[in-house]
């Protein structure tokens, strides 16, 4: 299997072999349904030594992280680098990061599904799984960062012997509700679109796999009525999940913006966080797709055209992020409030300067790089670029959370922050946990949405007009 991505249409117009002129395009390639099924099932049925080695390494990191977390619970939050005034640190930074990552899944699958964009078809499942698992690990942080995690259930509204209802004025309650809603709805959304493919896997496997898939496929037979209901449900979910996805990151931003902490108290935070989440989420998705494509040999499905389109979308998100960042920064800098001035000078020329320039460089350079088709369609280059975006976005969240908290209205209360091994281990645990969930999931269920690709292929036919072969698209649904 070659790892090189050929450009779409590179051989178009070649009159010698008109049958393969559009073979570069997934929805036009000469394949039978059975070939597609087998290509998807192959990595599910055979796992190499590399897979188990990866699982072992990730599990090791997770075990170490769980030890660190129990150490944290046992001895108290003093084992982290938190202090007064830097009450929130790496945990909240990474929480915002993971919530951001979770945004691209819905972005890709719901928005693009509604817009009937065809290049989404092989990507949707990978994106939705990313949303669900990123939310799972993000949801750990509100627990991890609590002083008394064993009392976390006090935030859940239920009639209790304390005769006390939670305080719905608190953005943390909004968080709890928004994240729970998003997790439930995105998991259902992922599962709904999975049912026909689980049925496909059921019909092509035997033994214990067959039994598992039969259970998970919920007796799907593929009748017209079932398809009608499924597509209806997906349409409803696609519409309904968009306000949820906007609200979740807005609420995360309000955790900061509702306080009067300088540089947090900003009305632009909600859209700025949402667009930043899309930027980093799409970048993370591209990185995952490149890695999975190679690890699971899915070159058949994830082609140059897909990375090209995804790269363009990242480029747009990046430009929007830059615009929002500038709009926020300009006003704060121009306002010249003393504390904001101290914070900005700390960023631009103080201790935070290396991180600030890392943030700006790692977020802006990819915008330039992604303008080139060669970067968008070369896996190694694209991977480096999108990883750079995520380094930049993580740094951005760090500067917002930790950077801002170091300065406040009373200079006597200014502080600094040093991370400890406990914090770093717990953060590593969530990265490994996400990777493990995703790796195992992609081997258990069909990673590529077979039915969506087949549906897309129904749209396109090659018609001969004179000596030319012309792809024609039909409206479906």
């Amino acid at each position: 299997m070659s790892d090189a991505l050929a450009l779409p249409g590179a051989r178009a117009g070649s009159q010698d072999e008109p049958e393969t002129a559009y073979d570069e395009r997934l929805l036009l390639a000469q394949r039978t349904d059975e070939e597609i099924n087998q290509a998807v099932l192959k990595p599910m049925l055979r796992t190499g030594r590399g897979f188990w080695a990866l699982v072992a390494v990730l599990a090791g990191i997770i075990l170490w992280g769980m030890y660190s977390w129990s150490y944290l619970i046992q001895w108290g939050l003093g084992t982290t680098g938190k202090n007064r005034p830097v009450y929130w640190t790496l945990f909240i930074t990474t929480f915002v990061f993971w919530i951001g990552i979770s945004h691209a899944g819905t972005m890709i699958s719901a928005v693009l599904r509604l817009l009937k964009v065809d290049w989404r078809r092989p990507i949707t499942r990978g994106a939705e799984a990313m949303t669900a698992f990123a939310l799972v690990v993000a949801g750990l942080y509100p627990l991890i960062h609590l002083g008394r995690v064993w009392k976390a259930y006090w935030m859940v509204p239920y009639p209790n012997n304390r005769m006390l209802w939670p305080n719905f004025q608190s953005p943390l309650m909004w968080d709890l509700i928004a994240i729970t809603t998003y997790l439930v709805s995105s998991t259902l959304y992922l599962y709904l679109a999975l049912i026909p493919d689980l049925a496909m896997a059921r019909d092509h496997t035997g033994g214990w796999r067959h039994r598992v898939y039969r259970l998970m496929a919920l007796g799907w037979r593929g009748t017209g009525g079932e398809w009608h209901k499924l597509l209806r449900a997906l349409a409803i979910f696609s519409v309904a999940i968009i306000p949820i996805f906007l609200s979740v990151h807005s609420i995360v931003s309000w955790d900061f913006a509702v306080t009067i902490q300088p540089r947090w108290h900003s009305t632009i935070f909600a859209p700025y966080f949402v667009i930043g989440a899309v930027y980093s989420g799409l970048s993370a998705l591209a990185a995952i797709l490149i890695i999975v494509r190679r690890g699971m040999r899915l070159q058949e499905f994830l082609r140059a055209e897909h990375f090209d389109a995804l790269g363009r979308l990242i480029l747009v998100a990046g430009m929007l992020w830059t615009y929002f960042w500038f709009a926020g920064f300009l006003v704060e800098w121009y306002g010249n409030d003393p504390v904001v001035r101290a914070l900005i000078s700390e960023e631009i020329s103080g201790k935070m300067a290396p991180l600030f320039y890392l943030q700006m460089g790692a977020n802006l350079i990819p915008i330039v790089l992604l303008a080139f088709r060669k970067v968008r369609t070369t896996p190694a280059l694209l991977l480096a670029t999108v990883l750079l975006v995520n380094v930049g976005m993580y740094t951005e969240r760090f500067l917002i959370v930790v950077g801002s908290l170091q300065r406040n209205d009373i200079p006597f209360n200014w502080g600094t922050y040093r991370p400890t091994w406990v914090e770093l281990s717990v953060v590593a645990m969530t990265f490994a946990g996400f990777a493990l969930l995703y790796t195992v999931f992609s081997r258990i269920v069909p990673y590529v949405p077979v039915w969506e690709i087949k549906e897309g292929r129904l749209r396109y036919t090659l018609r001969r007009i004179g000596r030319l072969l012309v792809p024609t698209a039909a409206e479906i649904e």
């Binding site: 001895w75 108290g76 939050l77 003093g78 938190k82 202090n83 007064r84 005034p85 830097v86 009450y87 929130w88 960062h145 609590l146 002083g147 008394r148 995690v149 009392k151 976390a152 006090w154 935030m155 304390r162 006390l164 939670p166 305080n167 004025q169 608190s170 953005p171 943390l172 309650m173 709890l176 955790d255 509702v258 306080t259 009067i260 902490q261 908290l405 406040n408 209205d409 009373i410 200079p411 006597f412 209360n413 502080g415 600094t416």
Partner: protein, 244 residues
């Protein structure tokens, strides 16, 4: 300024509005208030290394600022404790009502409810709240002098100045048994009781004749970060030139 102070929102019409006056012109920076507060409120001592990293637990802290260039250097002292804001930024952000406004205008901190999100600590512009990073330790013989009227807090929760609410309650109970209201100066928080130069004064701001009311009307009065609109119940006095 004086007029501004008198607009303190009355949350308890007819009842007291507890307030403190800090006369910066009198403060010598001796930190007796801090020691008294530790003893009265079972505040643990964090230790030098932890305190240097910003993890002290003092409910009142004498902030020292240097002014001027050598050799004309002056030390400025600002004792700062929870300002018991009327529009407290810490209150709405707590998801479990561990911090809330009681009818006497006090910012109450309910230790047992706190789950340790530290959101209140971020919201407080005065950073007057402290967090129990570790299980508090009271090395012998400090354990022998714990105040039975005050909860010893566990690790993982926020705490802060309460205006010695246990002392307020004790006097209120005693005087209501006698069928009268506390007289001005009858309630003394530990820091006020201890302050050698009497820089700290405590009383009822709703009583126009109380000492705090009279001092709050002074031309010297101001409130810290008044521009934020938190409407604190701690009034500072600063006017004359002090050269400490």
């Amino acid at each position: 300024m004086a007029k501004d102070v008198n607009t303190l929102t009355e949350t308890n019409v007819g009842g007291p509005r507890w307030a403190m006056v800090v006369d910066l012109d009198r403060c010598t920076g001796c930190q007796a208030c801090l020691v008294a507060c530790h003893a009265e409120n079972n505040v643990p001592v964090a230790g030098e290394a932890q305190a240097a990293y910003g993890r002290w637990l003092h409910w009142i802290i004498v902030q020292r600022y240097w002014e001027g260039q050598y050799p004309n250097v002056k030390a400025r002292f600002t004792p700062l404790m929870c300002q018991q804001c009327t529009e407290a930024p810490c209150e709405p952000v707590c998801p479990v009502f561990a911090t809330y406004h009681n009818p006497e205008g006090l910012n109450a901190q309910i230790y047992n409810r706190c789950i340790g999100t530290r959101f209140c600590g971020n919201a407080c512009p005065y950073k007057a709240r402290t967090f129990n990073w570790f299980t508090p330790e009271f090395p012998e013989p400090l354990g022998e002098q714990l105040n039975p009227d005050v909860t010893v807090r566990s690790r993982g929760i926020m705490e802060k100045c309460t205006f010695c609410v246990q002392r307020i309650r004790r006097v209120e109970l005693a005087t209501s048994a006698e069928g009268r209201r506390p007289t001005d100066g009858e309630i003394l928080p530990a820091c006020v009781q201890t302050c050698p130069p009497s820089a700290l004064v405590f009383g009822d701001l709703n009583d126009p004749d109380s000492r705090v009311s009279q001092m709050a009307r002074s031309r010297r009065s101001f409130r810290v970060l008044a521009e934020l609109g938190t409407d604190p119940a701690v009034v500072y006095l600063k006017g004359g030139e002090t050269n400490v």
